[in-house]
Amino acid sequence: MKLKPQQFAAALYEITQGKSEKEIDKIIEDFTALLAKKNKLGWQEQIIEKFLSYSMKQEGIMETQVFTAKEISKKMAEKIAETVFKNQKIKVISIVEKELLGGFVVKTEDKILDLSIKKQLQNLKIKLIE
């Protein structure tokens, strides 16, 4: 069977679950040896990326990006994200994007809520054309 970075990441997450730091050191050593044996050391970055997203998914944390036109405080970004996605554990990343003009956009892996001025203007444009 062909292995994918996703599977390495998932496996690494499962075996490191609930282990002490000492044990983890040993596991990582073995894991690296396995990667070397399978000739997959080049996948390091992809595996780390997948590992992060996998562990967050397992722990029920959602990564959320909040786009705004001007810089806002971390607390405010968190508050925005929390209002949008109620009752969820959230990790917030705040990003500044001048093109939005105003308002904000909240984005997770597969959902997007666009409340920016830019989008509103686009909608208005479509409506006026009609």
Partner: protein, 501 residues
Amino acid sequence: MANTAYIIESLKKQIASFKQEAIMEEVGSIIEIGDGIARVSGLSECQASEILEFPGATEAEKTFGVALNLESETVGAMILGDFKHLKEGDKVSRTKRILSVPVSDDLIGRVVNPLGEPIDGQGSIKSKTFYPLERIASGVITRESVSEPVQTGIKAIDAMIPIGRGQRELIIGDRQTGKTAVAIDTIINQKGQNMICVYVAIGQKKSKIARIAAKLKETGAMDYTIIVVAGASDPASLVYLSPYTGAAIAEYFMDQGKDVLCVYDDLSKQAWAYREVSLLLRRPPGREAYPGDVFYLHSRLLERACRKNKEHGGGSITALPIIETQAGDVTAYIPTNVISITDGQIFLETDLFYRGIRPALNVGISVSRVGGAAQIKPMKKVAGKLKLAMAQFRELEAFAQFASDLDPETKRQIDRGARVTELLKQPQYSPMPVEEQVAIIYAVNSGFFDSIAVSEISAAEKKFLTLLQREKKELLGVIAKGEWDEKIENELKKTCEEFVK
């Protein structure tokens, strides 16, 4: 100007009434794209055959796609239309709409693409109703057996391979044997027969489609015809979808209680397009590299042809699928599939075509499994004899080539057969009303043409028909109504006798 004030006023009103809306959109992104197929991540709640919105080449127009493969992490989608501007990482959003086409009565006389957009340059088609492309065929309870005929206007078909409203009759043959001609003649003959026609051109040359559209317009057939076009230059996704669009449009008219004739020209090209899409989606190939569900591809389409009973509106869809064979091989995968699905087939052969027998029908192996029930009574009476005469002729023909001295009975049968064969020849774009067909077949079968040389048959036929039209209008009218008794037969006999003299 006074207008300026009005414009500003209405603009203000529009803007004031503009509400800020916030809808949670479900998005994914393209991870792989090529050959009109995109693999999209995210979209975890996407439905099968849902329309997906891709960014367009310009901001004003969007590109759409259809979700076909729903996998654990990704969605395989085929893109409808141009895909060159799409790139990895582009945003894809759900529309929560199943693939459907706008339908309305305004479609009649128009040429549309498989998405229901007009391509004949005669303005947009207004409609509020949408019909899904893929719909489960009508159930058993709503159906009725075939009881009314479709008059194709082609003597050989109406007499020996009759088609009923709601039937699926396959037209099969090599290239250049006149398959499309049979279908187009049938459409032309539907004038005044209370029938709506849908012609679906699947993967055809644009020049051929233009020629057909012009011909239909010239003969006045566009007044009740809709043409759905997926040309040879269109992407495989559109070619694959086009017959379903035709079926959806046909269903719209059927639901109004109308009779619809739907021509799919041709389904082998659709199977090729589907094979292309399937292979690109990495579905495992099977026989002739077609995917496992090509049978279902055609069966679900043709099963939508039906005749509804009175309680369910009484409409019907008659399907005339066309299949092109390669070097007369009907045992290839697609021909055998479609032959087994349909209620009969019309075989066209290259040999016959070059021998000058046009339409090049092979009446020996062409059949219609249910159409007999739909024939009008006079046709039933005269066609029975015709079939017998043709069968005997075929048997004796080969044998007679080597024998010089034949007994009078055999000779008579061969002579009759040769005359019937001659009679069944018919030029393109000249369908014949059923009552005239009955009269002429009766005349030949009863031996009134036996004294006329074979080469003179078609001229004699024309003379006989003009005589009928001039002097026996009432008799033709009665036959057209489907009445047949001794009195009518005797009158027809008398007319024939007069003609021979």
